[in-house]
C-alpha cells in the first residue's frame, strides 16, 4: 500500500508541472487557434531565471520564483505583441513561427546562460520529507502540487465564474461575434499570452526545485502538454488539468506495474485511445477559431 501511495504522489507531482504548461497551451489555442510549441522554452526560461536569481545572485528561491513568473509573463506579452499578433489570421504561420522560436530561444539560453548548454540545478527550497504511512513525501513536491492546484483553482474560477472569463469563453467560441458585442478580443488575447506565460514561468521555477534542467528540456514537456491538452479537449482548461494529472498517474503506475522503461509510452497510449474514442477530447474541446 505504501508503494501504491508513493506512486500516487509521484504521479501527481509529475502531472502538476504538465498541468501548468497545458493550461497555458490550451488557453492560447482556445482563443487564437495558435499551436504554440515554443511554450516549453518559456518553461525552461522560467527555470533558468529562478536558478539565476537564486544561485548566481545568491538570493532566496522565493524571490527567484517571483522574478521568473513576472519575467516570463512579460516575455510572453512581448512575443504576442512583437511576433504572434501578426500571425493570428493564419494560425499555421504562427505554428511555424513557434517552431522557429524554439531554436532561437534555445540558442539564446545557451548564449546568455553563464553555464552555456550545461545542466543547472537548484537545491530543494524545502528539505523536509514527510512520512505518511511509510510513503516518503518530500515537502518540495507538496509545494509543487499544492501551488499548481491553487493556481489551477483560481484560473478555473476566473474562466468559468467571472465576467472576464465569460467574455474570454465567448471570444474563444466566436472571435468576430464577440468583437461585435464589444468584447476587446485583442486585449484578451494579450492577457491570455500573459497568463499562459506566467504559468510557464511558475512551472519552470517550481520544476527546477525538483530536478535539474538544461536549455533543451522544453520539448520534452511541451509534447506532454499538447498531448494532455488534446486529450482533455483542446481549448478546454478543465479537460487539460484532468488529463495532465491522468498522464502523471499513468506514468507512475505504468512504471510500477509494467515495464518501467516504457513509462512515458503508457501515458501516450492512453492519450491515443482517448482521441480515437473521443476525437474532441475527454471534455470536448474547441477546434479553435477558423483561419482567415
Amino acid at each position: 500500500m505504501e508503494i501504491f501511495l508513493q506512486q500516487v504522489i509521484n504521479g501527481l507531482s509529475i502531472g502538476a508541472v504538465i498541468a501548468l504548461m497545458a493550461l497555458g497551451v490550451t488557453l492560447i489555442f482556445g482563443l487564437t487557434g495558435l499551436v504554440m510549441f515554443a511554450h516549453g522554452e518559456l518553461l525552461v526560461i522560467g527555470g533558468f531565471l529562478a536558478w539565476f536569481v537564486t544561485i548566481q545572485l545568491s538570493s532566496s528561491f522565493w524571490l527567484g520564483l517571483l522574478f521568473a513568473i513576472v519575467a516570463v509573463g512579460l516575455i510572453g506579452v512581448a512575443l504576442e505583441r512583437g511576433v504572434f499578433r501578426f500571425t493570428f489570421d493564419s494560425p499555421i504561420n504562427g505554428f511555424i513561427v513557434s517552431l522557429g522560436l524554439i531554436i532561437v530561444l534555445q540558442h539564446l539560453l545557451v548564449e546568455l546562460s553563464p553555464v552555456g548548454a550545461s545542466i543547472v540545478d537548484l537545491p530543494a527550497p524545502i528539505t523536509t520529507v514527510f512520512d505518511l504511512g511509510g510513503a516518503r513525501i518530500p515537502a518540495t513536491r507538496v509545494l509543487v502540487v499544492g501551488a499548481t492546484l491553487a493556481v489551477v483553482a483560481l484560473m478555473l474560477w476566473a474562466i468559468y465564474r467571472s465576467g472576464h472569463g465569460r467574455a474570454l469563453r465567448a471570444s474563444a467560441i466566436d472571435r468576430d461575434t464577440a468583437a461585435l458585442m464589444g468584447i476587446p478580443v485583442r486585449r484578451y488575447i494579450m492577457v491570455v499570452f500573459l497568463v499562459g506565460s506566467l504559468l510557464a514561468g511558475l512551472g519552470g521555477a517550481l520544476m527546477i526545485g525538483l530536478f535539474p534542467i538544461d536549455p533543451f528540456i522544453g520539448g520534452r514537456f511541451v509534447i506532454k502538454a499538447f498531448a494532455v491538452a488534446l486529450a482533455g479537449g483542446l481549448g478546454n482548461p478543465l479537460g487539460a488539468i484532468l488529463a495532465a494529472f491522468g498522464l502523471g498517474l499513468a506514468e507512475a503506475m505504468g512504471t510500477q506495474y509494467f515495464q518501467p522503461e516504457w513509462s512515458e509510452s503508457y501515458a501516450f497510449i492512453v492519450m491515443i485511445i482517448i482521441l480515437l474514442v473521443r476525437p474532441r477530447g475527454l471534455l470536448t474541446g474547441l477546434q479553435g477559431p477558423p483561419a482567415r
Binding site: 506512486q7 509521484n10 507531482s13 535539474p212 506514468e251
Partner: protein, 487 residues
C-alpha cells in the same frame, strides 16, 4: 496618391525587405559557419594550455619499445633533421547532454598527452621527428552526427588513427566504418570484446585487426567494481542488490552485465530497472525498486543522472546504502546537495582512477597535470569536475607512440596494429599496462570511494586481488544470470 502608387511602393518595400532579410541570413550563415570551423577544427595545440607537468608521463618499460619523449638534453641529441606531423582524429560527445561530461574528459586526456609529447620535442621514428596534431569532432551526443564525423575524418581528412567515440552503440557502428579502411581505431568501450561485440581472438587477426579496446573487459571492470563496492558498503552474501540503469545500449549492456556479476558474488538480484534517457524525475523508478526491499542500490551509468538518482533515492529511503557510478569524490564533496554527512553509506565508483582523492603517487601526479592543463592550478579546478576519464585516452597516446616507434612507421596502420599487440608500457593506470595480443584489450584495477558521516576515503581495488580470476567469476555464469537470481 493612387492605389497603383501605393501598391508599387508596397511592392518595392517588400522587395527591399526580402533582399535585406536574405542578406542578413547569408551574413548570419557565414558567421555561424566560420564559428563552427573554429570550434570543430581547432588543432590540439591551439586548444591546450601552455604549462604542463612532465612527471606524470608514462615510462616505457626497458624491455619494450621506447615510446615517449625524453628529457630535454637527450631529446636534443635525438632530434633529427626531418620533421613530420602525425594527425590523430578524436570524436567525442562534447555537448548535448550527460554524455558530454565523459567526452570532454576523454578529450582532455588525449590533448594533455599530445601537448606533453609535442612540448618535449615530439618523438622519433626512423630518421624523422614527429609531432602530433589532433583533429577533433563533436558528436553532439547524436549518433548520426558522430558517424558522419567519423566518415568525414576518414574520407575528407584522410585520418588514419581515430580515438573514440563513446558510448557503445555509436562506437560499434563507427568500428564498421574504420575497419574496412584499415584505420587504427582505439575506443574505451568494453562492449567491443563482449558477447555482442566485434572483437575476439579471431576477428582481431582478420576483419578487425586495427580495432583496440582501451578499457578492460566488462567482466574485469564489473567484477572489480562490484567487489569493491560490496566491500565498502559492508554487504554480506545473500543481501539484496538492485540496479537502476539508463535504457540505452550502454546502460542495457552495463546494467545487465553488472547484475550478473552481483549474482556471481552472492547477492540476491532482480531484473535491472531501466529509465528512459533524459529522465529527470526518477521517483517512479526508485519507488518500484523500493518495493523490492533492497539492501543496496546500484546505478549505472551516466554520472549526471547518478547524482540525481542518489539524491532522490536518499529522500525516498530506497535502500540501506548506494553505489553511484562515475562521479568523482571531489565533485561529490563540493556539490552533492545532501553533503557528505549521510548515515547510509554511499560508494562512488570512479570510472577508472579517482581525480580528487588519489590512490597512488602516480595518479596524483597525473591529476596535477590534468588540473594544470584544464584550469592552471595543479591543486584542483573550481568547480570540481563531475567525472574524470582522462586516463582512458592519456596512457594510450603514449602506447600508440611506443607502437609507432616499435613498428618504425607512422603511416602503415597494419604494422602499428601488430606492434600494439602485446606491447607493455609503464602507465598511470598500471605500471604494466599491456595490450592483450589476442583480444586487443587492456586490464587494470579501479578506484572506489566510500562516503559516510562526513568522511570520504578511496581505495584501489587491484586486478590481482579483485579480478574475475581471483574471485572465480566467469563470463558464462554472468551471461546466464543477467536477469538476476529472483526473476
Amino acid at each position: 496618391m493612387t492605389h497603383l502608387d501605393t501598391d508599387s511602393r508596397l511592392t518595392r518595400w517588400r522587395w527591399m525587405g526580402l533582399v535585406g532579410a536574405a542578406l542578413a541570413v547569408l551574413v548570419l550563415g557565414f558567421a555561424l559557419a566560420a564559428c563552427g570551423d573554429d570550434e570543430d577544427e581547432q588543432p590540439a595545440a591551439a586548444q591546450a594550455q601552455p604549462q604542463q607537468e612532465q612527471q606524470a608521463q608514462p615510462q616505457a618499460q626497458e624491455q619494450q619499445a621506447q615510446p615517449q619523449p625524453q628529457p630535454e638534453a637527450q631529446q636534443q641529441q635525438q632530434q633529427t633533421a626531418n620533421t613530420g606531423v602525425v594527425r590523430i582524429g578524436s570524436v567525442q560527445p562534447l555537448s548535448g547532454g550527460g554524455l558530454a561530461f565523459y567526452g570532454k574528459s576523454e578529450e582532455v586526456g588525449l590533448l594533455l598527452a599530445v601537448e606533453q609529447i609535442n612540448e618535449a620535442g615530439g618523438f622519433v621514428v626512423g630518421d624523422t621527428t614527429y609531432t602530433i596534431e589532433v583533429v577533433a569532432r563533436d558528436t553532439r551526443s547524436d549518433d548520426a552526427v558522430g558517424i558522419a564525423a567519423v566518415q568525414e575524418l576518414i574520407r575528407d581528412e584522410g585520418i588514419k588513427i581515430i580515438f573514440g567515440p563513446i558510448p557503445h552503440g555509436i562506437g560499434l557502428a563507427a568500428s564498421e566504418l574504420t575497419q574496412p579502411e584499415k584505420v587504427l581505431h582505439l575506443m574505451s568501450l568494453s562492449i567491443l570484446t563482449s558477447e555482442d561485440g566485434v572483437l575476439n581472438p579471431e576477428t582481431s587477426q582478420t576483419t578487425h585487426k586495427w580495432l583496440f579496446q582501451i578499457e578492460p573487459s566488462e567482466l574485469t571492470r564489473s567484477t572489480i567494481t562490484a567487489a569493491g563496492v560490496l566491500e565498502l558498503l559492508g554487504a554480506e552474501e545473500g543481501d539484496t542488490s538492485v540496479i537502476i540503469a539508463t535504457d540505452d545500449p550502454s546502460g542495457q549492456f552495463l546494467g545487465r552485465f553488472y547484475n550478473g556479476v552481483l549474482t556471481a558474488l552472492g547477492q540476491k538480484t532482480y531484473p535491472v530497472v531501466f529509465y528512459p534517457p533524459g529522465t529527470t524525475d526518477f521517483t517512479p523508478f526508485l519507488t518500484r525498486l523500493k518495493g523490492l526491499e533492497p539492501d543496496w542500490m546500484h546505478n549505472w551509468y551516466i554520472a549526471a543522472d547518478s547524482v540525481l538518482i542518489a539524491e532522490q533515492a536518499l529522500e525516498l529511503e530506497v535502500a540501506r546504502g548506494y553505489m553511484v557510478f562515475g562521479v568523482d569524490p571531489g565533485w561529490w564533496e563540493e556539490n552533492f546537495p545532501g553533503g557528505i554527512d549521510n548515515e547510509a553509506p554511499i560508494v562512488l565508483a570512479c570510472i577508472n582512477l579517482c581525480r580528487a582523492i588519489n590512490s597512488s603517487e602516480r595518479s596524483r601526479e597525473h591529476y596535477q597535470a590534468v588540473n594544470e592543463f584544464e584550469c592552471g592550478n595543479p591543486d584542483g579546478c573550481s568547480p570540481a569536475p563531475l567525472t574524470d576519464i582522462t586516463l582512458w585516452q592519456y596512457d594510450y597516446v603514449y602506447m600508440l607512440v611506443a607502437a609507432m616507434q616499435k613498428a618504425g612507421t607512422v603511416d602503415d596502420t597494419t604494422a602499428i596494429a601488430e606492434a600494439l599487440e602485446g606491447i607493455t608500457i609503464d602507465g598511470v593506470l598500471s605500471s604494466t599496462l599491456t595490450m592483450d595480443p589476442e583480444w586487443h584489450r587492456v586490464a587494470h584495477g579501479y578506484d572506489t570511494c566510500r562516503v559516510q558521516l562526513g568522511e570520504i576515503s578511496c581505495t584501489n581495488f587491484s586486478l590481482e586481488e579483485y579480478g574475475p580470476e581471483a574471485l572465480g567469476v566467469t563470463d558464462e555464469f554472468v551471461l546466464a544470470n543477467q536477469e538476476g537470481s529472483e526473476q
